[in-house]
């Protein structure tokens, strides 16, 4: 009887954790409000197009411009698009979780509540409004394909693995054209997943060939985007190409002048790097360190629930893979100041990888690295008894800012009471 009540309670908690953000996102993105639905900077980043010539980040803006009516503007379509991408990501997330057969409510609750995760995306209208949400969707789809392929044998498996290595070769360059930061954010873990696939299937030579091709083609497209990084003349041409109704809404005091992320197309590497200086000089670094530690702790608790460490056997390789994954996908911290975005993206992507690797034979091998083994031993020693509840409270009470201007608001729904 008590067990049934507990299950009901968990089901109710999960339903609330999912429903509240989804309802808020739908109401906010489809309602009739005067002000833009999310920050002007991410809005304008979606609007960069090819009207001034080929330029980095322009692909999706060109698509939105093509499908939009000049009278009603691009913004209504953009809001529907980002909302759809949020719903799509949630679907992919649950599909990966279900197919991986994790079946652990504690894991699911923490994975949903992690800062920058599905719950916080919806209640803050942040994170999913960024282009990297498309990277997450694509990576989640690859994880689905990987889990599915791992359960097959023979020709059926071969066919799925062929898809698994082909899709990144096709869509990796497209995602780089959407935003060149793909190379630093999603490419490392995608390459890692393909590397694991190659290790697990040494007899399929085409996998290794595909892996090398993926790495090569991504680098070529990134270099091409870096060469066409844009300038002020091109930024103005992009701004002028936008429907008038959008320009007035985004910049009512100067609708004829380029602004926000469109204007930043002309930035040099020096300006991007000087924003890192801002992270330290404004004291924001302390806020980010708090959320980095909080999210790493949450990920560690989730990993320990999916892959329990027993006293009898040596820890599995999965822990080493996750640590490597964390390190290789952290390059964005050295390039730009939106550290909340990077923390959120890394956490969500590592969660998907963690779920997917539950079917991996390679990750079940014994960990040999002394450094990782010492790290696990040390973590086990200091891990308090109620760690699950600590990270649960962390997920419920705090609200990680997406970027710098939101530093004062670090508690959930805090901005509503100001």
């Amino acid at each position: 009887m008590l067990k049934i009540k507990e299950n009901h309670l968990i089901f109710l908690a999960l339903a609330i954790i999912i429903e509240i953000p989804v309802i808020l996102a739908i109401v906010w993105m489809t309602g009739d409000y005067r002000e833009p639905r999310f920050n002007i900077w991410p809005v304008t980043e979606w609007l960069v197009n090819y009207q001034g010539g080929f330029v980095r980040r322009g692909l999706i803006g060109e698509f939105l411009l093509t499908i939009s009516d000049p009278i009603s503007g691009i913004l209504p379509n953009l809001y529907r698009f980002v909302l759809s991408s949020y719903i799509f990501y949630i679907t992919i997330f649950f599909a990966v979780y279900a197919l991986a057969k994790i079946k652990n409510n504690r894991v699911l609750i923490l994975a949903l509540l992690i800062q920058g995760g599905i719950y916080h995306m919806g209640i803050s209208a942040d994170f999913y409004t960024r282009k990297e949400n498309l990277f997450l969707i694509f990576f989640g789809f690859l994880c689905l394909l990987y889990i599915n392929a791992s359960k097959k044998v023979g020709e059926s498996k071969k066919k799925r693995l062929l898809w698994l290595v082909s899709l990144p070769i096709i869509f990796g360059p497209i995602l780089i054209l959407i935003h060149e930061a793909y190379l630093f954010m999603s490419f490392p873990l995608t390459a890692m997943l393909l590397f694991i696939v190659c290790k697990e299937n040494p007899s399929y030579i085409y996998l290794r060939f595909g892996f090398v091709l993926y790495v090569g083609i991504c680098l070529i497209f990134f270099i091409s985007c870096s060469i066409h990084h844009g300038d002020v003349v091109l930024a103005q041409a992009i701004w002028d190409s936008l429907p008038w109704v959008d320009r007035v809404k985004l910049s009512p005091s100067a609708p004829y002048s380029q602004f926000a992320a469109i204007s930043s197309i002309g930035w040099s590497l020096g300006q991007h790097l000087s924003t890192i200086y801002g992270v330290f000089i404004t004291g924001g670094v302390y806020i980010w360190i708090f959320f980095i530690l909080g999210n790493v702790l949450t990920l560690a608790v989730i990993a320990s629930l999916i892959y329990p460490i027993s006293a009898e056997s040596r820890p599995k390789r999965i822990y080493g893979l996750l640590v490597i994954g964390l390190i290789v996908s952290s390059a964005m911290f050295l390039i730009a100041a939106d550290w909340g975005r990077w923390i959120a993206f890394m956490s969500n992507q590592l969660l998907l990888l963690m779920f997917a690797l539950s079917v991996s034979t390679f990750s079940k091998g014994e960990e040999k690295s002394k450094l990782i083994l010492n790290l696990i031993q040390y973590t086990q020693k200091i891990a308090p008894k109620y760690l699950f509840y600590i990270v649960l409270v962390y997920g419920l009470v705090f609200q990680m800012p997406e970027c710098c201007v939101q530093y004062p608001n670090i508690f959930v729904f805090q901005s509503l009471f100001q």
Partner: protein, 159 residues
């Protein structure tokens, strides 16, 4: 073995270079008014847009950045030597860029003068678009923030 020596040396050098105040970015927070006026070919005033958004200048090397006020967002090249003259002259295009002909009015041209002593910042943009003449003007009073700033300042700049 070599990397165990090289990396710490690079790190220490970077930190020491960072301690050099002159190499750090410098900030000014400004308040004032901007206006965007649109004329037809006969110079009849067609549209006017005004704003009083805060403006923040970030000087880094010989470039100035401004990304807060919508009317004047962008990167500017400093074309005068601020160590000799308290007035900084800056513009949108590189100072020695010969590829921008003077009569090419379709391309936006922005010029600004910033007096380091008084904190007065004046900026003007001029361009044409589909036979319309667009002129952006702004006059701001700036206060120096030194080598640091707070994002909270952004919300109080209008006060």
């Amino acid at each position: 073995m070599l990397h165990k020596v090289t990396y710490p040396i690079i790190l220490i050098c970077s930190l020491l270079m960072g301690c050099n105040q002159s190499s750090l970015p410098e900030y000014w927070l400004c308040s004032g008014d901007s206006s965007q006026r649109v004329y037809d070919a006969q110079l009849n005033l067609l549209e006017v847009y005004t704003g009083n958004d805060p403006l923040m200048l970030e000087k880094f090397g010989n470039t100035m950045y401004q990304f807060l006020a919508p009317a004047f967002s962008g990167k500017y090249f400093i074309c005068s030597d601020s160590s000799k003259n308290p007035e900084i002259y800056m513009q949108f295009h590189p100072c020695d860029d010969a590829s921008i002909p003077a009569n090419n009015v379709n391309q936006p041209t922005r010029h600004a003068m910033f007096n380091l002593d008084s904190g007065e910042f004046q900026i003007r943009e001029f361009r044409t678009l589909n036979r319309k003449i667009i002129i952006n003007d702004g006059i701001f009073a700036c206060k120096s923030l030194g080598h640091s700033f707070s994002f909270n300042d952004f919300n109080h700049a209008k006060d």
